[in-house]
Structure formats: C-alpha cells, structure tokens
C-alpha cells in the first residue's frame, strides 16, 4: 500500500463540476446581496459571477466542457421556454390584432435595421442576414426569470411575454432559412435550401403536439402531486430536447410550441410554481452562471464600434416599432416605452443560434459570431436590469419591494 492509494495527489485534479458547484454558492450569495443593497435582479449576479470568475474574466474557473454546458443550458432553457409558452394566451392575438401587428413590425424592423447596419460595415449579405435573424429574438430566459422574480403583472408584462415567445419563433425559423441559403451559397442545390425550414416547422410542431398531449395526460393523473409531477416534467423536457436534437429539429421551437399548445388547447391556465419547482429553479440559476462562464468578449477588441452600434440599432428598432403601434393596441406612452425597452435582452436563445451557426460555418464563428457573442454578453448583463426597471416604471411590480 502506498500513500497515493488513500491520500489525494497534489496538485489536486478536480472536475469542472466542483468549480460550478462552488460558483453556484458564490453567485447566489452575490445575487442576494444585489437584491438587498442595490435592488438589482438576482440574475445579474449569477451571470456576473460566471463572467467574473470564468475564462472571460479572472480565469479562476475553467470553461465547462461543451457537453456538460450544453446539457445544463438545454434543460434549463427547455424549462423556461415551456414555462413561457404556457403563460402566453394566443387567443389574445385574435381579440387584439394590434399586438400581432406590433410583434410582426418589431421583428421585421429589427431584421432590416441590423441587416442594413451590417451591410454598411461591408459584411456579406448572407452572413448579415443570419446575424439579423438571431437579433430578432428577445431572451425568454431573462424575461421569464425577471418577471417571476419581480412578481410583475399587467399589460406590459403580458405583452412582453407574448411578444418574446413570438419573436423567438420567428428568429428560429428565419435563422434556419438563412442558414439554408448560406448552405446554398457554399454549393448545395435549391431543394436543400427550401426543405430544411419546412422540415423544421412541421417536425417541431408534431413533436410539440405530442409533448403537449402527453403532458396533459400525465398532468391529469399525477398533477395533484407537485413534486412527482415536476420529476416527470424534467424527464419529458430532457427527452424532448434530446429527441429534437437527434431529429435535427430545434429544441427551442419544440418546447416553446409545446407550452403554447398546452395552454391553447386547455384554454384554462394552470398555475405552476416558478420553473416547475425548486429543482427547475436550480437549473435556471446554473444556466445563467454557465452562460457567464461561456461569455466571450473577444469581439470587443476587433469590433467595439460594430458591437455598440448593433446593440443601439437593434434596441432602437424594437423600441420604435412598439412606439408606433402602442397607442392602437391600447396602452399608454409610459407603458409603450417600458415594453419597447424590455424587449432588449439577448441571452441563451441567441447564444445557441450563434454557436450552432459557428459549428457549421467556422468562418462565421471567427468573424460575425464573435461580434454577436459580445452583444449577447452585454445585453445579458444589462437585460435583467432593463426589464426590471421597465416593469417597475410601468407600475406592474408590487408597490413594496421584497
């Protein structure tokens, strides 16, 4: 028997998960401190600590291996997207078509504003188009998390949730379309440029519908027991996410659509605990830390001006579109401003779309991808604050902050 058989070797070799566990403790403590002393949303602390301790900051914690990071993000984002979908009342679009119009205008304006800006910077058309589709999406993770945390309710909150769900759908579909054209440019036939989006939409819709039906059945039998139900739900979300990836569908689209379908079919909303229980909430926190760890500010060095302009143009397009139609859709100026500002955050959805594109086209990853990553980091850190301030100024948070 030697020393080494029962004593650890020095230097210790530890798994990255240990560091993630440690940063969870630190991040949650910092989050609480932010709420208590600065009245800022907790997630700023989660992302901030990930950014600060991770490779992008002080470098105390190594980047998580891609597979583990992806698992955390996929699961947590799945929970948040399903949660978002089940909070959104699609029938409202029929009763108030102005909201549908606002949503379409906002998405189209964002796309063209970003596309024109990038073209002006001499970025090739198809690359600019892919980036512009990614810019359409408002972060569902930040929106859902901040709304839950601030216990906001009212017109701006409802519209923010609805418009976020819609612009994520647009972003995923048009991103797929743009990527298909990018493939076309690198030399595949026309058929292979048109089929992908069709397959994506119909396949995701089918999987989402199956998910919704199964969800209803299971909820019918074990819905009373909240804990049991949340275990099953996690299993289902993980299954749907992995299944969607296996079938080359979009997990984002599948889970969002599943939530929307569940709500639409049943007509009656259900109230679930936030993120379907504390296990879900832990995953959500981990996701924000992991996003911070994955943050890459490399794009700032080469393209600071472009990053800043991209953020400004994207935010302005969203704000102006909402301002134009706000009055017709039945909200006042103050609320319209709040809604326009709250649409700014970018996070996991944009990040996943960017990474997926970079994986397919390394050239995108080393150029435009870096610029987008920097935008995402900035709008991920400032996003929760913007949403919180906007909801507060619209008078939709409880009067006494807790």
């Amino acid at each position: 028997m030697t020393w080494s058989s029962y004593l650890p070797l020095w230097p210790l070799s530890v798994s990255p998960a240990l560091w993630l566990a440690l940063s969870l403790v630190v991040a949650v403590l910092v989050g609480e401190a932010l709420v208590r002393y600065a009245k800022l949303p907790r997630i700023v602390g989660y992302i901030g600590i990930g950014l600060l301790l991770g490779p992008g900051g002080l470098g105390l914690i190594p980047q998580l291996p891609e597979v583990e990071w992806r698992l955390v993000v996929d699961l947590a984002l799945g929970i948040l997207l399903f949660e978002l979908g089940s909070k959104v009342n699609l029938r409202w679009l029929k009763a108030n078509p102005w909201i549908a119009a606002t949503s379409l205008l906002e998405a189209v304006a964002t796309f063209f504003a970003v596309f024109l800006l990038l073209s002006w910077f001499d970025i090739p058309g198809i690359t600019a188009a892919v980036a512009a589709t990614i810019a359409i999406a408002t972060s569902p993770a930040i929106v859902v998390r901040t709304v839950t945390e601030s216990r906001a309710q009212g017109q701006v909150t409802d519209r923010l949730l609805l418009m976020t769900a819609l612009n994520c759908i647009y972003a995923v579909i048009f991103h797929k379309l743009a990527v298909a054209f990018m493939h076309g440019e690198t030399g595949t036939g026309f058929v292979h440029s048109v089929l992908p989006p069709l397959y994506l939409i119909s396949g995701s819709a089918l999987l989402a519908w199956l998910f919704g039906v199964t969800f209803e059945r299971i909820h019918h039998y074990v819905g009373q027991h909240e804990e049991t139900f949340s275990f099953i739900l996690f299993g289902m979300i993980a299954f749907a996410t992995i299944m969607a990836s296996t079938l080359k569908l979009s997990p984002i689209l599948v889970l969002l659509a599943a939530g929307l379908i569940t709500r639409y079919q049943r007509q009656r909303p259900r109230t679930f605990p936030p993120h379907f229980g504390s296990a879900g909430a832990v995953l959500v926190v981990l996701m924000f830390i992991a996003n911070g760890l994955a943050a890459d500010l490399g794009g700032l060095r080469s393209g600071l001006l472009l990053v800043l302009l991209l953020i400004i143009v994207r935010s302005a397009a969203k704000l102006l579109s909402v301002l134009i139609l706000g009055h017709y859709s039945g909200i006042g100026l103050r609320q319209t401003m709040a809604l326009g500002i709250a649409l700014a955050p970018m996070s996991s959805v944009a990040l996943l779309l960017t990474l997926d594109t970079s994986a397919m086209f390394p050239a995108f990853g080393s150029g435009m991808g870096l610029v987008l990553m920097s935008c995402i980091v900035i709008l991920e850190l400032s996003g929760p604050i913007l949403v919180q301030k906007a909801l507060r100024s619209a008078g939709e948070t409880p009067e006494k902050q807790t």
């Binding site: 009763a95 108030n96 017109q155 409802d158 259900r270 109230t271 039945g330 609320q335």
Partner: protein, 371 residues
C-alpha cells in the same frame, strides 16, 4: 361643511352601481388594470358611467336613472358588453362576486386619485382590504322626509338583500363559512352600520352638522352605512348587496328593492320605530353567515322563520306592486334564486367540482362576460 339640500327625484326611479373585479387571464388573480380598462372604455360610446374605484383591480359601472326592469337590464347588459370587450382586448377578465377568492390584500395598489390616497392613509390596510365588490341600489324619493322614512322601513329587509345577492364565501384562499364574507370587511370601518334613528330631515341635518364639527366626517361619503341618503341625487342608497354573478340578477335585486319600496310607500304606511333595530344586527349577521337559510326575527311580532320563507312571503305581498312597475320577470328571477340558490351556492358547488379556486374564478368570469 353643511349637508347639501335634498334634491327631489322621481319617486321609485332606480339606479344601480356595480363594483367589478379585474382579473389576469394568466392566473385569474386580481390585476391592476383599471387605468388601462378605463382608457380603452373611454373611446367607445356607452350608456351610464364607468369609474375607477379604491384599488386598481376594480372598476365600477353605473347605470343612468331608470324606471323599470326591462330598460335597466338592457342598460346593464350594454355596460357589461363594453367592459367585457375592453377586457378581451386587453387580456383582462371581468367578473362579479363580492370577494376575490384568493387575492392578497397587501398586493393591491391604490388608484391614483387624491381621494383614494387620502382614504388609504387614513384607514391603512383596511383600505386595501376594501378590495371587495358590492352592488349599490339607488331608489328615488320625492322628498327628504320620505327618504328617511323609506330608509328606516327598508332596514327591516336588509337580510333579504344580503341573502339574495350573497356571493362571497371565499376569502384569502379559504371558505369562510359565510354566505357574504364581504360585509365583514365593511363592518371593520368605524362609521359602518346603520344610520341614526331620525325621521325628519331637519334632525338629520343637525346630526350631520354635529358630526362634522367633531371633525369625524367631512361628507356623506364618509358614512359606510348599510343604507344612506344621497341628497344630491334625491335617493336613498342600499349598499349591503354583493355584486351578483350576472347583471340579470343585479337588475332583479334592484327591482325587488324597488317593488318593496313601492309597497312601503303606497300600501304599508306604518311608521318606523326605534325598537325595530333591536333585532337588526342579529338578523343581518344571520343573513351574512347563513344566507337564505339564516333565521329572521320579525322586529314587531318576534316571530322566527328562515330568510328564504320571509322573502317568499314578501314576494306574494309585493306581487301587485311589481306588476305595476313591470317587474314581473324580475320577481321570477328572485323566486329562482330561492329555489336554485344564490351566488354563494353556485360558487361552493363549482369549487366542489373543480377543486381549484383559480378555475372557479375563471368560470365566474366566463359567467359574467358571456352574453
């Protein structure tokens, strides 16, 4: 400040005020959407009036002065439609009922108007607990003394109005066991209860003058009495009813009060006595607690019977007056309530079936908003 002189109004004319709940379509909790709703409603022509109330999760609809059931129910229906349409446009559900079954009072926000902020400062949490929803019925009187006479005579029948309209069994997530738990919130106000026993307007003015010099009250609005005179309208205002679950029931109860007022003014013609009030709080408690099953003690004969029987008896006595007022259909609806039960029994049955107060609230809103 002295009391405004009593404006004469057409005898037995009626007006109805209903306080309504505004609900989020996401969880059917109360939502502070009154400013959005009012901004939307302003843009559409509608009869009567739609006004803000104490907290931002309530609005009030008022009818104009009406004479009979048919026109009253029509006006209430069109007001309901205007409000429901605005609600659908804004993803806000609108419902009747005296309380919200699971709202938390501390989450309510005071509507931004000086009077409401003043009341909120004065009454503290009571003002937010006042997120309760009532029906007020105005009855026109020829003169002030007639108004006081009618007010004291109608006081005997307060349990009828409470039991018929009762629709607030649930408060803060629990079944209180009361048919109308809403009134328990009203009773915690210092100036609630009944008006003093004065029969002449001169004496009433004197009473009011003394109260204002004490600094306790500034206007009639500071009295939260079960029935109070409203001199600027020339009416008395019955304030004990919960907002019923549909406008049709609200109109029927208003016309029941109207027919009873006609019976009191035209046929009964006996003077009120101070001793009529000996059984007042007992009878009122029975109505709040047990609804139509409550015990009613006749103040004059001391005979005991159920409130349901007393209403059935009254319906027979006022049948002639009701048909004079063209309120036969309204009396039929009252009779239906005696058989099928009031809003509280509907709510309890629905809860027994759904096991979930959120679902109950949604069905309650569907009932109110459907045509």
């Amino acid at each position: 400040m002295s009391l405004m002189s009593f404006a004469p109004s057409r005898p037995l004319s009626i007006g109805v005020e209903l306080e309504l709940q505004l609900l989020s379509c996401n969880d059917y909790n109360l939502v502070s959407s009154a400013p959005d709703m009012l901004r939307r409603i302003e843009r559409y022509p509608h009869p009567g009036d739609v006004k803000p109330e104490m907290t931002r999760s309530m609005i009030e609809i008022n009818t104009s002065v009406q004479q009979e059931y048919g026109a009253l129910v029509e006006e209430l229906r069109s007001l309901r439609n205007v409000v429901s349409d605005a609600g659908r446009f804004l993803n806000v559900a609108v419902a009747g009922g005296g309380t919200h079954p699971f709202q938390h009072w501390s989450e309510q926000k005071i509507f931004d108007a000086p009077r409401f902020h003043h009341l909120s400062e004065l009454y503290g949490y009571l003002a937010k607990q006042f997120t309760i929803f009532g029906q007020h019925v105005h009855i026109g009187c020829t003169g002030p003394d007639e108004a006081l006479h009618l007010m004291h005579m109608l006081s005997r029948y307060i349990p009828h109005f409470i039991a018929l309209s009762a629709s607030s069994p649930f408060v803060q997530g629990h079944d209180t066991g009361f048919a109308s738990a809403r009134l328990n919130s009203v009773f915690s106000f210092p100036l609630s209860g009944r008006a003093p026993f004065v029969l002449r307007w001169d004496d009433f003015e004197q009473f009011f003058g003394k109260m204002t010099t004490t600094g306790v009250v500034e206007s009639m609005k500071d009295f939260y009495w079960d029935i109070r005179p409203k001199p600027e309208f020339g009416t008395i205002e019955v304030r004990v009813c919960d907002t019923p679950l549909t406008v049709e029931i609200a109109a029927a109860i208003a016309c029941y009060i109207q027919a009873m007022a006609r019976y009191i003014m035209v046929e009964q013609r006996i003077a009120p006595e101070e001793d009529d009030y000996l059984v007042y709080t007992f009878n009122r408690f029975q109505a709040c607690r047990f609804g139509l099953e409550g015990i009613f003690i006749d103040p004059r004969t001391h005979e005991q019977r159920s409130i349901r029987d007393d209403i059935a008896d009254m319906l027979t006595r006022i049948a002639g007056h009701a048909s004079e007022l063209r309120a036969v259909e309204a009396m039929e609806r009252i009779r239906e309530i005696l058989i099928a039960g009031n809003g509280t029994s509907w709510l309890r049955q629905t809860y027994a079936r759904e096991h979930n107060l959120g679902d109950v609230m949604q069905l309650q809103a569907d009932l109110w908003m459907s045509n």
